[in-house]
């Protein structure tokens, strides 16, 4: 196998950062749901995919203004996420379903969403075509388009505001209290169910923004959801389950690894690279970079 020249390395790093910017948005929500609800929401990528298709519907099919379409899509995806939570996850939890049941239900939901979207929109790839591909700027040997800069900026701004929200707002404190210990939170008068629902809805809102950005930068297809859900799982394992900075760091590490890995491996192995990374972390440090032992030790919360 021929090894590519060193000249493409800066481009691979830039591609990795762009991938990381997109992954971090889904991973942040995945991690938030795990922190408050203690289950791995495999359908999270599917919700992101629904968000992307909603923008496509409002913008390309209904002909709305792009920003109005995006706003509507975020609202609808959040409502839809809330609906899924109330109709599937909440009843399961009320029946004292174990985490494994939640995970299997989430896997079922992921496939259900993919199948329904395929039935409505077909398997072919969709494009938003809001910002046409422009001439890129050359920065340190890499080419980056204005659109990609916008994607990275939106992702960064959204995640920083989310982190500030979690740290300083009273809602953020409620969420952190429930994430830390739901039973203890209940004794101080917090309603953990409401907090769990709201954090699920917030995660869906962030996921829909991710869907919009991914729709702008890549193509939209029904299959994209599951891949993103597993990347989110891998990112949160690498960074530390339930930790927001961990999820973001993990996403960027995975984005970089899969892109820089193409320097030596064919691009088809992109997925294999982060999967191997996931296995290495599970093997050597299952709690991740910033994580506690929580996720490994407590399987029956």
């Amino acid at each position: 196998m021929e090894i590519a020249s060193a000249a493409i390395l800066p481009q691979l790093i830039v591609n990795g950062l762009i991938a990381g910017a997109m992954y971090s948005l889904t991973a942040a929500g995945f991690s938030l749901v795990y922190a408050t609800n203690r289950f791995l929401n495999l359908a999270h990528g599917g919700i992101m995919m629904v968000g992307a298709y909603l923008v496509y519907t409002f913008f390309n099919l209904a002909g709305l203004n792009f920003y109005a379409a995006s706003f509507l899509a975020v609202i609808c995806t959040s409502l839809f996420g809330g609906f899924l939570f109330v109709s599937v996850y909440r009843p399961l939890r009320q029946k004292k379903a174990a985490n494994m049941v939640m995970l299997i239900a989430a896997a079922g939901l992921a496939i259900l969403l993919e199948a329904l979207v395929t039935l409505i929109f077909g398997t072919d790839v969709k494009q938003l075509n809001f910002i046409s591909v422009q001439e890129g700027w050359h920065i340190a040997g890499a080419i980056i388009t204005p659109l990609q800069l916008v994607v990275m900026a939106v992702s960064a701004v959204l995640l920083v505001s989310f982190a500030v929200f979690m740290k300083y707002s009273s809602w953020g404190k409620l969420i952190r209290a429930v994430a830390d210990n739901a039973d203890l939170a209940r004794t101080t008068g917090i309603n953990p169910y409401a907090v769990q629902l709201w954090s699920f809805v917030i995660a869906c809102a962030i996921a829909s923004v991710a869907g919009i950005l991914i729709g702008l930068e890549r193509n939209i297809e029904p299959r994209m959801g599951l891949g993103f859900a597993l990347v989110s799982f891998a990112s949160t394992v690498v960074g530390g389950m339930g930790s927001l900075p961990g999820a973001i760091l993990g996403s960027y590490l995975i984005g970089l690894a899969e892109n820089v890995g193409q320097w030596i491996l064919p691009s088809g192995y992109k997925e294999a690279i982060w999967l191997v990374m996931l296995f290495l972390f599970l093997l050597i440090r299952p709690s991740g970079i910033f994580g506690t032992e929580q996720g490994v030790r407590q399987t029956k919360l």
Binding site: N99, E114, L230, G268, E271
Partner: protein
């Protein structure tokens, strides 16, 4: 018409083995192996490559399929020995994605996305099975043998120890049972059977490609398993019967072909979610999901 029924019977046998062997790991021992379909795929690829590329006799390829899947089953248990519950489940699922990525990209060996065509019908001791009825009889024999084996295993003292590992791994360990070794043995037996089912599948469809071994098939296996009930082999048999026949009824409705695939997936996943909500123990289930 007889050929059509034979085909359905073959599919029921194959999926009964897949779900039954998943039950051995999941229902009896508590190992939620969400990567089960990867072992099914490993078996299918092993058998197809051996018979197509190397002209290995069918019976040798058939058992090699089980053996390769079993070896990988052991490797996966060894790698994930520190993980429990949902972490193990998702790590196993990630293994499934890894297997598909390798099937797709190791083109010189697996032909990548094109898949392997022309997988021959089995020839057993000079007797070539050509008719669908003959294949159905063969698949039924294999299924009966696998279920007899699993029945003997789970009804034995050893089977009770496996159930003890599921219910209280720490307690079993305290009583001097080597939990890690038991988990390994169980997963090897389970994945060996999945590999055999993969070989049956490859020689039945006569064409395999990486996407035949993806999450949609896992949903089919999980739906069969949970509808039938955990820790019940007769449940897995009944589940396979019900779950394979239901989408066949869709054929009698006037719906276009390209809709059938996603519709079938939607039906399976809706049944899965529904049964979890309404009756998580399934028809014959003895234990609750944990």
């Amino acid at each position: 018409m007889s050929a059509y029924f034979s085909q359905i019977l073959i599919l029921i046998c194959i999926y009964a083995i897949v779900a039954g062997s998943l039950n051995l790991a999941f229902g009896y021992t508590g190992l939620v192996n969400l990567g089960h379909i990867a072992f099914f795929g490993l078996g299918a690829y092993t058998s197809a490559i051996l018979t197509v590329e190397y002209q290995v006799p069918f019976m040798a390829a058939f058992f090699a399929a089980g053996a390769v899947a079993g070896v990988f089953g052991w490797v996966i248990t060894a790698i994930t020995s520190r993980l429990k519950g949902d972490y193990f489940a998702l790590a196993a699922l990630a293994f499934n994605f890894l297997a598909v990525a390798v099937f797709l990209n190791w083109i010189s060996f697996t032909h990548g996305p094109l898949g392997i065509a022309g997988v021959p019908r089995p020839q057993i001791f000079g007797l070539k099975i050509l008719s669908p009825e003959g294949y159905a009889a063969f698949a039924f024999l294999v299924m009966a043998a696998v279920f007899l084996f699993m029945r003997r295993l789970t009804a034995s003292r050893y089977g009770r120890v496996l159930e003890a590992v599921r219910d209280d791994a720490l307690g079993a360990e305290a009583l001097g049972k080597n939990v890690f070794r038991l988990k390994c043995q169980c997963l090897v037996a389970s994945t060996f059977c999945a590999g055999l089912a993969g070989s049956l599948f490859a020689h039945f469809i006569q064409f395999i490609d990486p996407y035949s071994f993806y999450l949609p098939d896992l949903i089919v296996a999980l739906t069969i398993l949970i509808v039938g009930g955990l820790a019940s082999l007769k449940g897995s048999l009944a589940g396979a019967l019900i779950i394979i026949i239901i989408p066949e009824l869709l054929r009698f409705l006037p719906i276009p072909d390209h809709v059938v695939g996603p519709l079938r997936q939607a039906v399976y996943s809706a049944i899965l979610i529904g049964i979890l909500l309404v009756r998580p123990r399934g028809i014959f289930g003895k234990v609750d999901l944990e």
